[in-house]
Symmetry: D2
Subunit: 327 residues, 4 copies
């Protein structure tokens, strides 16, 4: 494998705040090392369609604070076929691209691993997803911002819940992982937090809500992860509680896609800047099949396949803190 002279960068899968800051960092690091940088629009689909753009340090002025991704994102069915990947590879070769930075989640990394196996194409991943469900990094890009968005929204809901002595079920994002629910729940001072990693049973929740009212709490917030395993969605949960605890006036709020947008927090901007530098430097050093991430507050890299399969465990200590806070 020869020296890397031209690096492509793309965003793939669900977007998250900080992706633009990571693009900027990749582009500026390339400029610093006098390496060409190409942006690929719409992830693997754009790679197949040859939807490329040349990026210079100036192209990424004033994007560090913008939500979304200037390179757009998409999911590509075609890239799951050998024909799709062949076309993608031909486009990379035609544009003399030597290496690739993929900003995305585990689905995007899986595509990268397959592609690397077939074509031996150097690839480094940057974890960009609000769900924080990736092994090998304590924080994914966008997670910190999504927590702040969720907590600010719940603060507002708390205002009206308190005024009316109501019980609110607030659904936050996190399909298979309760990171947002647990952290935003603790951060918002929720009375109960329901996450996929822990199924405490509906009975326990009823007990807890009853107790909460007895001890004089006049309003309550229950934070529910999308993927809660109670077998009920958030509306069914609310109905169930209203039937069993008629003293509560119950409301539901689904925070939804606003959690994916917004100006990134300082943390996510700094993280994006650090990971972008490291991704490019690894490629320039001839490395491949790694994901850059944060371990113990230091930038570190993890084997890409491990990152995909590894999973990310919920913090048991924080579960305990949550229990103590809501007593």
């Amino acid at each position: 494998m020869g020296k890397v002279k031209k690096i492509a960068v793309m965003t793939s899968g669900g977007d998250s705040p900080g992706m633009n800051a990571a693009i900027r960092s990749v582009v500026r690091t390339c400029a610093y090392y006098r390496t060409e940088c190409i942006g690929i629009y719409r992830g693997y689909q754009g790679m197949i369609e040859g939807d490329f753009v040349s990026l210079t340090a100036r192209s990424v002025n004033n994007i560090i604070n913008k939500g979304g991704t200037i390179l757009k994102s998409a999911r590509s069915q075609e890239f799951r076929t050998p024909e799709g990947r062949k076309k993608a590879h031909e486009n990379l070769i035609e544009h003399k691209i030597d290496a690739l930075v993929v900003i995305g989640g585990d689905g995007s990394f899986t595509g990268g691993v397959v592609f690397n196996k077939e074509y031996n194409f150097p690839i480094i991943g940057i974890p960009g997803t609000i769900d924080n469900d990736i092994y090998g990094t304590s924080h994914t890009l966008g997670y910190d911002t999504a927590l702040n968005t969720a907590v600010e929204a719940i603060d507002k809901i708390r205002d009206t819940a308190s005024s009316h002595n109501r019980l609110f079920f607030v659904e936050v994002m996190g399909r298979d992982a309760g990171f947002i629910a647990l952290n935003a729940g603790v951060g918002a001072g929720a009375e109960e937090i329901l996450i996929p990693e822990e199924d405490l049973g509906l009975e326990r929740m009823l007990e807890s809500l009853k107790k909460s009212r007895r001890t004089g709490k006049s309003s309550s917030i229950v934070v529910v992860a999308e993927g809660d395993r109670s077998g009920k969605n958030v509306y069914e949960l609310a109905n169930y509680v209203e039937e069993n605890l008629p003293e509560y006036e119950v409301r539901v709020s689904v925070l939804g896609h606003m959690q994916r947008g917004g100006a990134p927090s300082c943390f996510d901007r700094v993280l994006a800047s650090r990971l972008g530098v490291k991704a490019v430097e690894l490629l320039l050093d001839g490395k491949t099949n790694l994901m850059v991430g944060l371990k113990d507050n230091e930038v570190a890299s993890t084997d890409l396949e491990k990152a995909i399969k590894g999973g990310h465990e919920i913090n048991r200590e924080l579960l305990r803190v949550s229990d103590i806070m809501t007593t």
Copy 2:
């Protein structure tokens, strides 16, 4: 009717940002005029139950920027009965309360009018509702804040809509009135705005969305008022469009109760301060059955019954602006 020496204040109906600032203003204006001030918890229900608290200038320190209402709010079935109102009146008399400031919406004012007719009790209304659907004031308390909350949330949704070339249906509050939808829609640069005051038909929306895509728009936001008259709720609308415009990937977001909370905007805080002063001064001047509000940027009063019945028309010029902006 003798001189007013003791004034009660309460919040009633759905809460809105700025209610605390209005309470503070009523309390401080009473202090300024050396008039006693009593807070009534939970609106008419608290009046019936005698749930009163003495309020001094210090009691309302540091609440001008708080969402919700420190006096709590509620809807009272009991106050709809003569017995309920009798109890309420007895409590007011027992506490030597001479006059009442009601912060709320038309339901709360209706209760006040009935009560005044039966007991000749002086009452002034301050319009507090995010819906802006009250005659006699250009702005209700909380409306401006709710607009900012909605627009900031839609800005975030726009980030992810743009990244994925998606079409979002965003439902905002406003059961019978499209004020929030129309203004937040224009403010957020929505491609379509569906409000109860205007039923353009689903066909026109499809046409418009088709055209929008043809002209190169890659993402779109449709803002829908809760009470849109298309006969479909926001999820049905989304399904309808997805079936008829398969080229669009459609998502739904219901902003919900977060629109009722949060720190009030400067506008709402200043408005609350102005209306609270006026309400107390009217009572001290022996006036009753009026609602204070904003007309042509000046504080003015309106007959309370007129305020209830009058309705508030949507701004036709703004509808035109909206049409031009989305062309």
Copy 3:
């Protein structure tokens, strides 16, 4: 004067939030009426230098929520000379521009009036400045946003003032006008507000602060307009108070230029959209030398020279409200 077929738009003088929304509105309204639209960079200076850009509806996608101005702004010495204006006119003629929309403050309008007199060139002004000091409109673009920015910053300062029982002097913008100081002061619950329109004397302030402490207030905020007429700047004021009221621990905070930036509020975005439509429609109707603005919540136009000379009076009722609130 023939039919208007090509309209130029520019931003001039100090920038303010909402300018981009106004540019967008002018551009989209031109598109709606199938009229060409040209953007001029850096105000009159760019007009002299021929720094023009063609603008289509798509050019202004996703700028409604951006602070600053995509057309940049500047002050131009050269445009004060006949030679400068001659060059500017030649450039307009060369580009077949028939009419001009100027978004700016009174300095910018003055330039427009002179230019119109010399060259009979159609010109409409849109009031864009955070200072709200322009006659003929109740609100200038950016004023509402600046108020919210100031109030949110003072809320944060209040947190630390309360924790430490300190007295803060907070300087807000507004060189010759106390609009921001008075409204942000009332909105932030300031204990004192010092504005150029009213010089109450330093003695009165000392008295008031002494009294405030006696009545148990443990912290205080004094909001000062840049252009306060006490003859002392905010640091001198703070020193003066610290010397005379040694029981107070005094701090100063100058909010500064952050008040000029940030995403515009919903109000400013809607106002910008409305004024942009009106400005273009007036030009298409053959009108000139007018400023569009908001009167009694309706879009209205004012003779441009009147707008410059008229001045804008501080609201006496709000001064009274402020006095009552801080008693």
Copy 4:
């Protein structure tokens, strides 16, 4: 030393966002372990004056999201004297307080260490300061929030800087430490960052700014830590640059005390909750003279004297990232 049955908590030194969340956590953890909890107002000064309040789980409802500290904070000269500490100890004994949680910075911890040595009184510290300058924890309470506040303010300043092609010097807090400046600078995409840990000389800054302009950057932000070692304050720096680079129009903005206030970020609320639990559990386990903090994302404790003396090094990798980003 007997069993701990009554724990006191106080905030001391400069306040920071998250202090209320930490108070809440200490109080709730005490309630969980059926241990009494006493709040001490105004830090060591309140301890000397016996300014105590009993705190229950309900006392701390709805404070997790409030800036400042409900227990107020102060610096106490009297506590530096043996007499002061004697009075303080007598008050603790009289109220049967067995142990103390001090939320504050190194000055507050120093007081605690001295007190513990004299009276063998159990004490645990929680690091609460926006400056992040404490050894033994990767993050102090309030630091993350202050970064977001600074970055959001600089984003606004960037809007107006860009519109006018100006160079802004923005001073952020951090008297002896450049953590806020370095992180907020990288997060805000600053062109230069001046911190006390690194004195690159003014010449280098001039060079860099010249180059930045040559490469087409039209506006620039230089973030300066309060305690920058160039020997010039931020205004002198600005003048120096304006004299040496007349092509730049220079402005200064001092962010000031707003960085100490505001609703804490989710991160700070969660951190506060975790540290409060740990602090109480350590005291109940008979431990003393420790500071709780975050190491490698886990809650850990550090000898209190080490925490005071240890210092906290700036991240060299982030300095490199900053250099690369601004190339």
